[in-house]
């Protein structure tokens, strides 16, 4: 058979896939043709820059072939050997038991019998199901796809996700400037041209776009930063680690201790007040309560001026450097490219990260956000000149049933008959302790106080029930969730009578299942999507050089006995008697066709042509297009004019306002003043609070003097590629092979390594009271002293004693070490960006 080429998408990066004789042989970027259109040119400072005519991808996308054919694919339905649904279930053997191969019919029978028994015995609330982010790309097959629709119809305890890459914004800055429908972060439209034409420097604060922005959009924005360099627009980087972007192009690197960014922000504000280099007009007309906060900064309320001298010993940056940065910032039109939206970043995932996030808004407000060249440009990750009026569909457009976009009967928000909820970060406590309390309904994007709502599990009254069955689908939470050992203990609880793992791979967590349902990857079925378009809370955040809608073509047949997720749920629904309600009579392709009709695609291309070609590039903006730079409307005092589809103030008499009680940016978070006036961990006026576990934590820092920081990984999207693709193990920044074993690297400053007798390449044990994890020391000047840096979410959890939660881990499961304390007492975010450890050479 000759070679065939298909269009598909690997965790957000659009791919051209070559298949020969039914086997994938190649993954590569797509080259756009003349007829594809979508061209644009930005003229800046006498130079012209045009859209690249090929798409960009990440190394783990190129290696997707190895992930698809990985030896650790689940391959066949399996039952845990010592799991006897009619007798002893042996939950204590989860994580170390063997598996026996069964048929799909046996698997379905077991599933139906168990779920029916559990529902009848304990009620539907005794079942929970959840799915990770991003393991398969595609609109219909995404996490809001087949799983939630299935369970909404059946009724289940929904697991509420925490906004896991934007904690500080969600719980903090939302109360400073609104934007609750985007987790407290603003939109970023038309920012690229704005930056290239009008900005004089970019402040990259706790963000590494070369690492994290690529998740959805490949490396599309890399070229933008090359253009900024070419235009002589300098970049100042603030990060404890000399991150990949900084290492490549920083003009200045500041390395504060982890978790002290808020102190640095306060000192910068102090210097601006002292030098009188802030925008008085903006403060007076577009903000409220500045004077009260100013008094605090100057030390008039507590006697402590938040001066550079005050911040210097906290951040471990000389006061003169802090002053210089403050002055340099104020003297030039600056973009604040902080870690937000899809420039997901570290400082917003620390304890008390609410404070840093709010202070970012304070700083950019003091410089007049929305003024020419001055803005928040989250991670320099969005804002090419693209036509946002073209109607498409994003997976988060309609909540927890993406089929609801086009279904006759959407199953969200009203489909699920069970009102009990459980919170992802506290799921182990819910199972192990039988009771949890928290605040907020997960992704709280409906209104600002939605996150304050007190919640508890089990739901009081007759409809609540303790969870007896878990159905996990997709990537692994063991390794991405805080204090991961808890998840090991949870799965071994006798309270869990039935654990189903529906997964493409034998991930760390899959081995805790009683029943394994082998799912196929998105290369083994068809789907429709827009590249890098989340829709909903991320609408418009397309971090690409083109808007490209894809017919994700099926490249190969499902491998081994795996099946596409939608098919698995259909076959289960049939056995449970609600197939018709689930599918509404639609085949997989019928759904795709309906989504096609829902978008603006039919105005430009026939369904057949789209299906055959596999993609469509949204045409260029019209010649007379007037850019609507984010926040410009607010600065100018005109109604909001950006294409932010979900801004509730649009078209109302409040359209010139921020979505806060005052309609302005609030230096004092008046919503917090109303609801939590005495919360010292998320005070009414944002301020630096020493980390729950950091360099100032007396009693602990003596024992564990190093701060481990754990940002998103570079060579694996969460756990999805690591431990599946041997090629990635050849990249020393990803894994280091020692004695034939691929260890996870822990980066250390040479001085810290030397003090411990550790040399580059040594096997080390990183430990604290919670866990012991082995890895290989990568001794590097990219780490400031006192810092250990390791990417979170390596996919290998490999306890020396399998199934023992306390065991030393050899795989590099960094989140075994992190604490599971929340952002703060009323902000239920994860705060595992940094914590204390010690490192020693491993001699065993």
């Amino acid at each position: 058979m000759a070679e065939q080429e298909f269009i598909n998408c690997g965790i957000g990066a659009m791919l051209k896939v070559t298949v020969k004789d039914g086997v994938i042989t190649r993954m590569r970027p797509l080259r756009l043709t003349e007829e594809d259109g979508g061209r644009w040119t930005i003229e800046a400072k006498g130079k012209k820059f045009s859209d690249p005519r090929k798409t960009t991808i990440n190394p783990f996308n190129i290696a997707e072939r190895m992930r698809i054919y990985a030896e650790n694919r689940t391959k066949y339905p399996m039952k845990r050997k010592n799991f006897d649904p009619t007798g002893e279930r042996h939950p204590e053997l989860r994580g170390k038991d063997e598996y026996v191969r069964i048929t799909w019919d046996e698997a379905y029978d077991l599933f139906v019998k168990e779920i029916t028994r559990i529902r009848e015995t304990y009620g539907p609330a005794a079942v929970t199901a959840f799915v990770s982010s991003h393991h398969n790309y595609g609109l219909l097959y995404y996490k809001m796809g087949p799983m939630p629709r299935f369970y909404n119809i059946l009724g289940y305890t929904q697991l509420l996700d925490n906004p896991d890459s934007w904690e500080g914004w969600h719980w903090g800055s939302m109360h400073t400037w609104g934007w609750y429908w985007r987790f407290g972060q603003c939109d970023n439209f038309d920012m690229l041209a704005e930056a290239m034409k009008n900005t004089e420097q970019v402040i990259y604060w706790s963000v590494d776009p070369n690492t994290s922005a690529g998740g959805y959009g490949g490396q599309e924005t890399v070229i933008w930063r090359e253009w900024l360099r070419e235009l002589g627009i300098p970049g100042i980087f603030i990060d404890p680690y000399c991150n990949s972007t900084a290492a490549h192009m920083a003009d200045k690197w500041l390395a504060p201790r982890p978790g002290t960014d808020a102190a640095l922000a306060e000192a910068i504000a102090y210097q601006w007040i002292r030098d009188d280099t802030y925008d008085h007009w903006f403060i007076e007309n577009r903000t409220v309560h500045f004077d009260e906060w100013k008094d605090y900064i100057l030390g008039e309320t507590d006697g402590v001026p938040k001066s550079p001298e005050w911040a210097a010993p906290i951040c471990d940056i000389p006061a003169h450097t802090i002053r210089a940065v403050a002055r340099q910032w104020a003297s030039k039109k600056s973009m604040l490219a902080c870690g937000a939206q899809y420039g997901v970043g570290g400082a917003c995932r620390n304890s008390y990260a609410t404070e840093w996030a709010s202070l970012m808004i304070h700083l950019i407000a003091m410089q007049g956000i929305g003024k020419e060249g001055v803005n928040i440009w989250a991670g320099t990750a969005h804002g090419a000149p693209l036509d946002m009026s073209f109607k498409s569909a994003g997976y988060s457009d309609v909540g927890w049933d993406v089929f609801g976009l086009v279904a006759k009967h959407p199953t969200f928000p009203d489909g699920n008959s069970v009102t009990q909820r459980v919170y992802r970060l506290l799921l182990p406590e819910a199972i192990l302790d039988g009771h949890i309390e928290w605040r907020g309904e997960g992704f709280c994007v409906q209104y600002p106080t939605q996150q304050f709502k007190p919640m508890q599990y089990p739901e009081p009254g007759p409809n609540g029930a303790e969870i007896r069955m878990i159905h996990r689908h997709g990537g692994s939470f063991i390794s991405t969730m805080t204090d991961t050992s808890k998840w090991v203990r949870m799965y071994q609880s006798p309270k869990l009578e039935f654990v189903v793992m529906q997964d493409c791979h034998w991930q760390s967590e899959t081995k805790f299942g009683d029943l394994i349902l082998p799912a196929s990857t998105n290369f083994e079925h068809q789907d429709i999507s827009e590249w890098a378009q989340p829709g909903g809370y991320g609408n418009g955040n397309v971090n690409c050089n083109h808007r490209i809608l894809m017919y994700q073509q099926k490249c190969i047949e499902p491998l081994w006995e795996s099946k596409p997720d939608y098919q698995i749920y259909c076959e289960l629904a049939e056995r449970l008697g609600f197939l018709e309600e689930y599918t509404e009579g639609n085949s997989e392709e019928d759904w795709i066709r309906k989504v096609f009709d829902y978008t603006d695609l039919p105005k430009y291309i026939s369904y057949e042509e789209f299906k055959k070609k596999g993609y469509f590039v949204v045409p260029s903006l019209p010649e007379d297009y007037k850019p609507t730079v984010s926040n410009r409307w607010y600065y100018k005092g005109r109604p909001v004019d950006t294409p932010d589809r979900f801004n509730p103030l649009q078209g109302t008499d409040k359209a010139t306002q921020m979505a806060t009680p005052s309609g302005k940016i609030e230096f004092k978070r008046t919503i917090l003043e109303q609801y939590f006036p005495d919360d010292e961990e998320r005070p009414v006026m944002p301020r630096y609070i020493p980390l729950y576990e950091g360099h100032e934590t007396k009693g602990l820092v003596e024992k564990y003097p190093l701060q481990l920081m754990t940002p998103h990984a570079k060579y694996s999207y969460h756990t999805h590629q690591d431990n599946k693709i041997p090629w990635l193990n050849d990249i020393r920044q990803h894994r280091i092979i020692k004695d034939g074993y691929p260890y996870w690297p822990f980066r250390m400053n040479p001085a810290d390594a030397e003090a411990r007798g550790i040399k580059d390449g040594d096997i080390v044990m990183v430990y604290n009271d919670r866990a012991k994890v082995l890895g290989v020391a990568l001794v590097t000047e990219r780490c400031r002293p006192g810092l250990v840096h390791s990417y979170q979410a390596g996919a290998k959890y490999d306890p020396l004693e399998p199934g023992v939660a306390e065991s030393i881990d050899r795989g590099g499961c960094v989140n075994l070490l992190s604490h599971s304390r929340m952002t703060s007492k009323n902000a239920y975010g994860e705060a595992n960006m940094s914590f204390l450890v010690e490192v020693s050479k491993w001699e065993a």
Binding site: K54, G218, C242, T245, A250, A324, V325, S331
Partner: protein
């Protein structure tokens, strides 16, 4: 005649080139150009991180090692089986059928970019994806996957303006490589910062002179807004640094051994008339 041009300053270290090479060649048989590359252990296009300087003046540059497609390739003359040949487009190919596994090419290669496949008993290396070029592709996979334009591939004639300032890797035996580099990390930066310890302020506009102790050549620049100075792309050697500003006691740092990129640290410049610390 084809050339590959690698601009080290433009490389952002994504490793796409290294991985794309594996995607093209692992488990794919492109005979007669190449047999499959093993899963791991071979790097027909290899990236290596080079960390330069020290906190907080740190950069990373990424070195790229690949077959240099030499016009006077030592591997061709060393091969006892006449298995290695040069194509009309300049690309050097090890014929996987003719290769007898005697490994002479590995020893002969001055760049250590030939690998031995013990399973197949053949030597293997970068082919510039000649099997794709022969099908009409314009670039090998490594270049196709590069997001920054750090890798460029094309006709020597078309790229000649860029090649004018490029260099090739040195070798003991003259080999005439067809792979060119811009901004090779073979010269070093000497950087530091100057501040006034009394006022606790960085000092902008300080005159910093870098004097080669060998050639006595002097380069002078002014510190920037942060009090920083960066002497870029200096030859390895011994230097003296002179730091001067009106109203301050001039300071000299010597000798400075520049055998790698160097951050000399924060230099306290004492105001005149103040007590020296």
């Amino acid at each position: 005649m084809k050339v590959l041009l690698i601009d080290i300053d433009k490389c952002n270290g994504c490793y796409n080139c290294q991985i794309a090479c594996k995607d093209e060649h692992v488990a794919n048989d492109w005979s007669p150009i190449a047999k499959p590359q093993p899963d791991t252990g071979q790097f027909w296009h290899k990236v290596t991180d080079i960390v330069q300087g020290s906190v907080p003046k740190v950069r990373v540059r990424y070195m790229h090692d690949t077959c240099q497609q030499c016009d006077e390739a030592p591997c061709i003359t060393a091969c006892r089986s006449a298995a290695i040949y040069k194509r009309d487009d300049g690309i050097v190919i090890i014929d996987p059928e003719k290769c007898a596994g005697n490994r002479s090419c590995l020893d002969a290669c001055p760049y250590n970019v030939i690998y031995f496949n013990t399973d197949l008993n053949i030597s293997q290396k970068c082919t510039m994806c000649a099997h794709l070029l022969d099908e009409g592709w314009t670039e090998p996979r490594c270049v196709d996957a590069c997001p920054t334009g750090a890798l460029k591939f094309g006709e020597e004639e078309e790229l000649k303006d860029l090649l004018a300032s490029a260099e090739t890797l040195p070798s003991d035996t003259p080999a005439k490589p067809r792979v060119y580099y811009l901004n090779l990390p073979n010269k070093y930066f000497i950087a530091g910062a100057v501040f006034d310890p009394m006022a606790d302020e960085v000092l902008e506009g300080v005159t910093v002179s870098l004097i080669s102790l060998e050639s006595k050549r002097t380069i002078t620049l002014q510190t920037d807004f942060f009090g920083d100075f960066w002497f870029e792309k200096q030859e390895p050697g011994r230097y003296s640094l002179k730091i001067e500003k009106t109203g301050y006691v001039a300071a000299t740092l010597e000798p400075i051994e520049a055998s790698k990129d160097l951050n000399v640290g924060d230099i306290a410049l004492q105001p005149q008339g103040e007590t020296h610390v």
